[in-house]
Symmetry: C2
Subunit: 179 residues, 2 copies
């Protein structure tokens, strides 16, 4: 399970409450490992039991109290252990490809391809904005920042590929024989 490790990576960058983490997951690390706040809270509790994180409650003026989590030494050890272990390749798993394969409804496929292309473009835009803001000079990057930038490069590549696939589909389906 990688949510634990995604959280450890994020907490390693900076301590945070569950709420903060949920926002980070919406905006950055969640590009690569999406998670809802419910899930994050549940996993944080389990991680604290394992001793990977510790928490302190902080009072805030004008806002509810928050529980700020920080990575512990044991968490660092776990993160290193995980980092050394090979990751296994994520399998492709696509409803849309199955639908293409079945090819029951040409118009629905075209509509899907159009919608998916738009979604890919939006996500691509997010990635590119992130790239421009945080990594304006990629050639100079080292260590952690180089890694983050390369992760983003993977996201950008995946979106470009998704867009190209949608375009290929539309080229071949529009104006050709129906079912």
């Amino acid at each position: 399970m990688a949510l634990e490790h995604a959280i450890l990576v994020s907490l390693g960058e900076r301590a945070a409450s569950g709420y903060d983490l949920a926002r980070r997951f919406d905006a950055s690390i969640g590009f690569f490992w999406p998670a809802s706040h419910q899930q994050i809270y549940r996993v944080l509790a389990r991680m604290q039991e394992s001793g990977w994180v510790s928490s302190t409650v902080e009072s805030q003026a004008g806002k509810p109290d928050k529980k700020v989590y920080a990575i512990t030494e044991s968490g660092e050890v776990e993160l290193d252990r995980w980092a050394a272990e090979p990751t296994d390749r994520e399998a492709l798993r696509s409803d849309f490809a199955v639908k293409l394969r079945g090819f029951r409804d040409r118009d629905a496929i075209i509509a899907d391809a159009v919608a998916r292309k738009t979604a890919h473009e939006q996500r691509l835009k997010q990635y590119e904005e992130s790239q421009a803001r945080f990594y304006p000079a990629p050639a100079a990057l080292t260590g952690k920042e180089l890694g983050s930038w390369l992760a983003l490069r993977g996201g950008i590549g995946a979106e470009l590929q998704g867009i190209a696939w949608c375009e290929e589909i539309l080229t071949h389906l529009e104006g050709r024989g129906s079912r």
Copy 2:
């Protein structure tokens, strides 16, 4: 849930036993929706209860009996209903990207990138063999076969993108500053 629909698509092409389906999932439709035989048997039982498939037991010489499933009319209706419904975009979810983002162990990342590149290349080879065997003349394809080919095109594109990403990672990591 799309396993049901992947099975319906496959049974729509040709009736099959659970065992046959498991092999098809290993070799073709499972490129887009991997499934184990256990899962396939479980889902087939549920689908029969729903009336989407029917089964007949066939005796075989020298082999155990097999239960051959076929799609029913109600299954066809369900498949059409599903085909008309929009699919939602699969989210990117990558251990490896999280690991890159964390950047704890440069050597492990390089080793991963090398291994993943090889895995992508193998999968790509499978796709390309499939493409050469079944779709030698893509321009002439129509209907169902065009759809299947386009699904395969998506797979090929994804693997090429995966390979390119690994290469980009290796270019930037090899011979540069360590952690």
